[in-house]
């Protein structure tokens, strides 16, 4: 459930799993050749990054952030404005976007992490509203509700003498975003297994006894926020480039709730739950296209039911099943499936 990871040896299992993921990513655009589904997969990868960042903040550090989408918006607008208005190189602008989002996360949390649960949640909501309003009203920079058009794809990457990778090609763009998502996952997973992860877990579980062990709660919460929001900023940069148009409404409050739903329904505190939730809540509505706005009704219902009855989310249920099949309760072997 929410325990720290088991100590898999740095060995074959991990490499095998990594190879499998790369294989899946490589194959996907070949299986789905039409641009619509490739678009869905790209959005899915973006949502995975967002959900991972939020899981790191909420699932590991225990901070209920209700405005995660706003940080994506900060990343998106920062990089986009730099590219379109100031002609900055895309990759440099992307770094700035990541930095801006991460910095915003650090600022909000440095301020808000002293606050108890509900107050933190509302502070994050307030921050998201302010961000949204700034995006809408600072027309000279953001073009307001009309939005910014004609956002270019990333410029081609040239490995001299070998190949030039063009990202206006949908397949290559997908590889780029999916690769970033995979790297984000790897980075976060390694972090959570490191002493940093142990500190975050301690702070989440009981901040007072964590303090008695020398672990400073506020510091780690700020770290978690900074990293989680930086990843959100990265996702935002890709989003802007992918859609080609940027409007503030893409980062409205309800989007933050959808991200929360992904993390809660997928199961928080183990990273792969967030991936699962992101995939489910991105793909399933596309499969149910005919239902239209019933999509949000289903989200709302699913979020409510999971919060009420399945606190561990879907991943929690799967872990329970795996434990039961493995028999021995609490033995190290039974932890296997829960930590990919």
């Amino acid at each position: 459930m929410t325990s720290t990871s088991s100590r898999w040896a740095f060995g074959s299992a991990r490499w095998l799993w990594l190879l499998a993921c790369i294989a899946v990513i490589a194959i996907l655009p070949l299986v789905f050749q039409d641009s619509y589904w490739r678009g869905v997969m790209t959005i899915c990868a973006i949502n995975i990054m967002l959900a991972l960042g939020l899981d790191f903040i909420f699932g590991y550090a225990g901070q209920l952030s209700l405005g995660h989408s706003a940080f994506s918006g900060i990343g998106a607008y920062t990089s986009t404005v730099l590219v379109t208005a100031l002609g900055v190189n895309f990759w440099v602008a992307m770094l700035c976007g990541i930095g801006a989002a991460g910095l915003a996360g650090v600022l909000l949390s440095a301020f808000a992490v002293r606050l108890k649960g509900h107050y933190l949640a509302i502070a994050s909501l307030g921050f998201a509203v302010i961000t949204y309003q700034i995006l809408v009203n600072w027309i000279s920079v953001t073009q307001g509700p009309l939005g910014i058009y004609g956002i270019p794809s990333p410029p081609p990457l040239t490995i001299p003498g070998i190949v030039t990778i063009s990202f206006s090609d949908q397949q290559n763009f997908f590889y780029l975003v999916a690769g970033a998502a995979l790297l984000s996952y790897l980075m976060l997973r390694n972090l959570t297994r490191s002493p940093i992860g142990d500190a975050l877990t301690a702070v989440r579980e009981d901040e007072i006894s964590a303090a008695s062990l020398g672990i400073r709660g506020t510091k780690w919460k700020v770290v978690a926020f900074g990293i989680g929001c930086a990843i959100a900023g990265l996702a935002g940069c890709f989003y802007a480039s992918f859609i080609g148009t940027l409007v503030p409404d893409a980062f409205f409050i309800v989007e933050s709730f959808m991200l929360l739903a992904m993390v809660v329904i997928g199961g928080r505190g183990n990273l792969w739950g967030a991936v699962l939730g992101a995939v489910l809540l991105t793909v399933v509505p596309e499969l149910l296209r005919g239902i239209g706005d019933a999509r949000l009704i289903i989200y709302g219902l699913a979020l409510t039911l999971v919060a009420l009855f399945l606190p561990g989310g879907i991943s929690g249920v799967l872990i329970q099943f795996a434990r039961r099949f493995s028999g021995a309760r609490g033995a190290l072997a039974a932890k296997g499936p829960s930590h990919a």
Binding site: F111, L115, Y119, A123, V254, G300, L303, V306
Partner: protein, 295 residues
């Protein structure tokens, strides 16, 4: 300078009306937050549903506003009872973020279900008073506006009296201060908490009935108010009725004045900036670190 005076005065009126709206919408939230320390994220949707209940009942009874208001109260009370029974009561001892997350889900569910049934087009809710206009000393407001202020005052007054003078009210205050001690004194928590939700949500319904004719009535009417309502609860102080009144009116005034003299979009920024400032500087209760926990 003097010619600014009528504009100033008009904004003052607008601000007070807006503030009264916020106070009505927030009162129930404050009560629940104060007694239980929990936030019902769907509270604003109770306001919306109360407004729709009033709308349909008014239409069915040929324009009887009074019965419409009662219907809204009942709908609110019922919703409060349901949400307590399904979400807050079962999760009383669980991790404190779970009810909040659950009510976010409920809110999304309610809004979009209402959208599916009622459509996105605003409903024209005309109370008998919304078209009656009063002009006095160059100022302008409708009787409905006046009614909102009056009802807000009455609502606040009656809640105040209830909390200070009746036994149940005192029990609720005891519960708010120290749940464990209150339990030890034989106060039946479950029933009191249920009552709190019923009263608080009834107020939401009432607010809906009053606001229906004023706000744009769509399934998302409440949502436009909800985030400010949270801000008011916090700026006003932890479940503090007096604070809610002051904060509600203050925010109504701020919004009215910034909309007039700056721009409508800025008002949200100012209000939430104020919220964040409050969270930064208010000493008691809000900031866990300063309140030394007994270990």
């Amino acid at each position: 300078m003097l010619d600014l005076l009528p504009i100033f005065a008009q904004q003052l009126i607008n601000g007070l009306v807006l503030g009264s709206i916020y106070v009505l919408a927030t009162l129930g939230l404050t009560l629940i937050f104060g007694v239980l320390g929990q936030i019902n994220f769907a509270h604003a949707d109770f306001v919306t549903l109360g407004a729709f209940a009033a709308f349909f009942v008014a239409r069915a009874t040929g324009g009887n506003y009074l019965i419409a208001i009662l219907a809204a109260l009942l709908v609110g009370a019922l919703l409060g009872s349901i949400i307590n029974g399904t979400v807050f009561s079962p999760l009383r001892n669980a991790d404190e973020t779970r009810p909040l997350v659950a009510t976010i889900g409920v809110s999304v569910l309610l809004e979009n279900t209402a959208l599916a049934f009622l459509g996105p087009v605003p409903y024209a809710f005309d109370s008998p008073y919304s078209s009656q206009v009063i002009r006095a000393a160059g100022l302008f407001f409708t009787v409905q506006n006046l009614l909102v202020v009056i009802i807000a005052v009455l609502a606040v007054g009656s809640l105040y009296a209830f909390m200070k003078l009746t036994f149940i009210g005192k029990a609720l205050r005891a519960l708010a201060q120290d749940r464990e001690a209150a339990g030890l004194m034989g106060i039946n928590q479950k029933q009191l908490i249920a009552l709190t939700f019923i009263i608080g949500s009834a107020f939401a319904g009432l607010a809906g009935a009053m606001l229906g004719p004023i706000l744009v009535l769509t399934p998302f009417a409440g949502a436009s108010v909800i985030v400010k309502a949270f801000a008011i609860v916090i700026i006003g102080g932890f479940g503090n009725i007096e604070g809610t009144i002051v904060a509600g009116l203050l925010i109504g005034l701020i919004e009215s004045f910034t909309a007039q003299f700056l721009s409508p979009g800025m008002s949200d920024i100012v209000v939430f900036g104020l919220l964040l400032l409050t969270l930064a500087f208010r000493p008691t209760g809000l900031i866990a670190e300063r309140r030394e926990e007994n270990v």
